[in-house]
Amino acid sequence: MLQITNLHANVGDKPILKGLTLSLNAGEIHAIMGPNGAGKSTLGYMLSGRPGYEVTEGAVTFNGQNLLELEPHERASAGLFLGFQYPVEIPGVSNVQFLREALNAQRKNRGEAPLSGAEFLKVAREQATALGMDMDMLKRPVNVGFSGGEKKRNEMVQMGIIDPALAILDETDSGLDIDALRIVGDGINRIMRRPDKAVLLITHYQRLLDYVKPDFVHVLADGRITRSGGPELALELERDGYKELAA
């Protein structure tokens, strides 16, 4: 589904990714772990097309398509979703309005008919309920006045409504208490643990992986994958730390 080959990328003039190669197949969940500043968030932004992130070498294909030549909204329409580490506030725009416009924009780009208000609300209500979020929150402005945990949960509601083929989740576990962690973990499994979907989980900690079992774990350090393995690698990291591995 996603094939990253020898990816080099700069932010401004600063090289962040230095030859990253990674391959995700449908039905797989991959976890990317690594120390601060290793380039984990950059990878997420790169893949979703954030302006200012410049690819200097390498290639990325998504379902056979050259991902790098697509605009961010085209990547979204192609089925890629980025769960933000710091979800952004949009004052005055309700979650419902935001998501309905976003979803219908994606559908339009794919040549599908837009959802009516009623159809959309049905989907939105299902997803919000499944994530323990009440409908009133969906009517509030996007992320405005939300706690850290609510913002992350809201990202998962968005993911549920948009129903992407590939989700890149950037530290979705940070800022969550134990209960919220379980709810979010269950959400990821429910929405994304399917034979036709894939997930790239970017995280510092093992704890999310207790709820979302990865098929593969990779260590990202200094802009490239330094180690790959199964779920046991995450436990090893938790025990020994990144320093040990980098050495």
């Binding site: 968030s41 961010p72 909204h73 949009i90 998501l99 416009e101 976003a102 924009a105």
Partner: protein, 500 residues
Amino acid sequence: MNDDMDIKDKAAWDAAERVADYEHGWSSDIETDFAPKGLTEDTIRFISAKKNEPEWMLEWRLKAFASWKTMTPPDWAKLNVPPIDYQDAYYYAEPKAKPKLGSLDEVDPEILRIYEKLGIPIAEQKLLAGVEGGEDGGLPQRRVAVDAVFDSVSVATTFRAELERAGVIFRSISEAIKEYPELVKKWLGKIVPMHDNYFATLNCAVFSDGTFVYIPEGVRCPMELSTYFRINAENTGQFERTLIIADKGSYVSYLEGCTAPMRDENQLHAAVVELVALDDAEIKYSTVQNWYPGDAEGKGGIYNFVTKRALCQGRNSKVSWTQVETGSAVTWKYPSCVLNGENSVGEFYSVAVTNNYQQADTGTKMIHNGKGSRSTIVSKGISAGHSNNTYRGLVRVAPNAEGVRNFTQCDSLLLGSLSGAHTVPYIEVRNPSAQIEHEATTSKISDDQMFYAMSRGLNTEEAVTLIVNGFAKEVLQQLPMEFAVEAQKLLGISLEGSVG
């Protein structure tokens, strides 16, 4: 976070150079009957004669003209306007061959086609097509009466019969001058005095047509009243005149929407709107203004010098101004409330968008003379391109006005790094019991917001439109339903190409 300050706003910067095309840039073929070019007493006599006006009206116009010749244009606004040659313009134009019509069905299809192109709200189109109600069962059914002002002359008035049953008078001002001279004489020039300012005085001399509304005591106007203005003839100044009188305990909601075709030469517009609300009366006046703003280099566009003022004369009277200003090369406009009545209420809700080389200096005056009078001002300025957008407001509390309250909020949103936002609030309080609050913010559309919206599937324009509409929401939600939808689209259209 991986933000890098160097990349901030680069996209907006680049796109500020891009051209925004004017969606409503077209013109029509309808023949025009011109007054001779230039402005003399003869011009004024021509206009007055064309309209078969009574002698008192002509005298009033001539008196204004004599004053105007001694006046000079105001220069205090933050506007850069080249000198206007008032002799190099036409002061009267009307569509030809127009017998008075009973309904819009009889209107020239060319005119209806233009209205359709302007996107007259669906509810209205349904009504025009004879379909009452609509598919949106959840919404209250709305009824809108249209007094269509095409160029300078009222072409037709719909729903007149129903309004008349309610006792509402809804006429072109030319008709009202002839049919209701006493009412017109009583209030015309009483809210905006003849010598109020250069542009208002000019309007007194040469006003072409406009709207007159009278809501009798205790009547709630059974439908929204709506006028669509169009500037259609090249080199034609537009001098609309509107007078709305809400008698005791009455209510009316009035909508004014405008757009104009693309022209190379600047067009002057100097309208005067006078509102008066007596005891317990309420007037809600909403405007969407989308005149041609000039091209991306700042060439052409409408000069819009408007005087709008409301007299809240009665106890508990209320006037609410809501405006969405996206068009015109130059906007000079301060819809105001003179709050004479005890416990009277004035409101001003404004969104002003400027792009490319547009200039807007707009705001309000809330003059508190009545005890316990209250006012609310919410101004949202959005500047893009090389434009300048100024909020200028005055809150004045008279010595005898006990217990006055005002709340003012001025928010500015900047797109790109070449545009300007300015806030000039004047507060003059002469009574110590007054409570005055003023809040102001200036912000930019952040790269974070843009990327967040785009990562969910919105393209650049859609993302800008969404964020800007969120910024302006408090004002937009004051608009009647049909206008709100139109206005939301308009904000997006006006900012096309401003972020890329």
